[in-house]
Symmetry: C3
Subunit: 288 residues, 3 copies
């Protein structure tokens, strides 16, 4: 016998319980075809992903909000995070990324063909994060992260968003591995059109940059993206990648999307760039 | 503090939301004793299983239905599937079985002692599935499955059910491993009695067949099953297995069930049949 | 789109369905700093834990209650249990502990610094459990557990609780490994103060004992604990450990807690005791 969780409108029923705790389920899934010209034998494969999130949250009478998440995918549990939030901002620990991880450009395709990988590989230098802090007010978001002990690192990012314009600046230093990255990002949207770009300068000898352009026709969104990395790899691809894709919302959380492009494989630091290859995907995405 | 998911009657509250998405939880569990005369030292073991399913689903205004599942058992996550359904039928990808997997005979016992294994080992030849398609109308169900690329295979099955009679025919060919199976199944039910049988002919040199008979006394259902495999094993047992069992629903999703029989162990392809051994189980099954 | 599970007050809506099955989600999380003077490099680490439980349950019209649980933490699924309960008591199988596992003293700190480990290491001898039985009436709880087959063991425990006083006696024998433990426990609470102690005598040549004292100031609970083990280790620490901690409920399921103490590391059976080290923790705990 199936049990049914009510949709979020049912929250009204519990509106009387001021500091009530709750546990929520949300999820997403995708299924589609993925083409890679370099894949020997199986150039086209059938792929699918399922991901559910369990979120617990609560609030004190004094206005503190707190909670925790885990992600359950086809075979693993990951993404465990614990946060506390108040007038001071939000502090998060767990399976988190550095403050500079927020920067990026759009990928194309229902599952992503990897056009953005070249540009985004330097933004976190070689660092991780133990604690993440964020504070947002009046369109400005400040975030910082720290990694303690042997794996010492520090990161900070500022983002501003107002009247269609967005801009951001981030710095991260991996103290124990002695490398750092400056990243700058900017975007602009006007009506159905939006443009977004980023540039990272990594002290390990690599530079990455990329740009995406999206146009919303009403029925569909068309997105094109270009990304490039020069110098030394930080584990991502070297050289330029580009692609174009679309997504069409079908209603109720279902979308059909696809993309086609020319991307390059990841290379180890110190290795030269690999030739580009044609890739494409076409599939459905669902959110619950 | 425990959070409570409402039983499915609560769905009425959300009936007003036409294309609402929802996430449902369902589950089952069992616990019991399992006897195997060949188990050295511990002929009787205490066994238990717990399995919960998270299901996300949604619908578009145009009548497409879609969703995804995962199963969470005592130690693993598996069974991830993504489907889309409409007037054209249902397409499923993920952790799926070939179209011919639907054929089978009953096992006996609360957890199954394996009487059906001999008969069912050939129905999928040596193939798997990447995409499964099903269409049902007027008692007829047509299903097909395909495996792409290096592991190329194709399967199709037709099943018909009307006025107590059921019949089915299936064919699967594992193209890359060069073997195939024809399966035929038939069943009939009249009042408390039902009979069901299947026969598979595998091009790898094996034949499997089996039959089950069930009688519902009102308070309990008694089931007897017989299964046999001759020729070459496809990884299952060779020779005949038989058993008899019962199940008594106690209400609210709880059942007590048990079975006793003579079954044979799995043998590798090419190996001769192993002697039969006595097995039995007795336990509880629960559904939530 | 997020789905919302209603808080337990919503159970009222389903009160009309006598033998309804249900599936519940509950959870807890913690985050904090943990100090250990012996940890080279990183004396202070940032730690976090997330744990959700899926519970299925049901009842028959004749009054049997039944259910199953699994725990999902940051990376694993464990704690699968299946139970059935009635006038005869409660029988549980799965990932369970022996009947004597119920004895213990308080640990201190938001996550526990391990003050109780020395005292508690002998209570289960070297045994596990396949089946657990419990019966409670009039303040008295009787429990027993059995392990079958090669890993044969038996345990029984009696606990009594009335008018602020609690007492318990337990015996466990690991038949195949030929060792056993007697454990006695007692506690008393009066107003804001409570005291609790235990003593274990292990036939493997070890003795463990400990005591904790708690005082509830209204805003906070202060807890001090002392524990000691002499003779041979059963895998836990030898020598004495002690600590003091506090916990302050902030409302809505959030608490801030911490502890500081001197504890000893686990030693293998036969090894001498290791020197004590200073440890401390400070963090938040959440329940959903």
């Amino acid at each position: 016998m199936k049990k049914v969780l009510l949709a979020s409108t049912a929250l009204l029923l519990t509106a009387g319980f001021a500091s009530a705790q709750s546990i929520e389920l949300s999820g997403s899934a995708s299924a589609g075809l993925q083409y890679d010209e370099n894949q020997t034998g199986n150039e086209v494969v059938v792929a699918n992903e399922v991901d559910f999130t369990i979120s617990g949250s609560g609030a004190t009478d004094t206005g503190l909000e707190f909670g925790a998440f885990i992600d359950i995918d086809e075979s693993d549990i990951d993404g465990a995070e614990v946060f506390i939030s108040g007038v001071f901002g939000t502090v998060t620990v767990g399976d988190i990324d550095p403050a500079t991880d927020t920067f990026g450009i759009a990928d194309v395709g229902y599952d992503g063909i990897g056009v953005d990988d070249a540009a985004e590989q330097y933004k976190n230098a070689t660092a991780g994060a133990d604690i993440h802090y964020a504070y947002a007010a009046s369109g400005l978001t400040f975030s910082a992260s720290v990694e303690f002990g042997d794996e010492e690192s520090y990161a900070a990012a500022v983002e501003y968003e107002a009247q269609g314009f967005s801009g951001g600046l981030g710095y991260i230093t991996d103290s124990d591995a002695d490398n750092n990255t400056w990243t700058i990002a900017a975007g602009y949207g006007q009506g159905p059109l939006s443009v977004n770009g980023m540039y990272s300068d990594w002290s390990g000898g690599g530079e990455g940059y990329g740009v995406d352009v999206s146009f919303d026709t009403g029925a569909a969104t068309i997105t094109a993206a270009y990304s490039n990395a020069t110098g030394s790899s930080a584990g991502g691809p070297l050289g330029d990648s580009y692609g174009i894709g679309f997504s069409v919302p079908l209603g109720g959380g279902l979308e059909v999307a696809g993309g086609i492009g020319s991307v390059r494989p990841d290379v180890d630091p110190g290795d030269p760039e690999e030739p580009a290859r044609a890739v494409a995907d076409l599939g459905l995405t669902m959110s619950f």
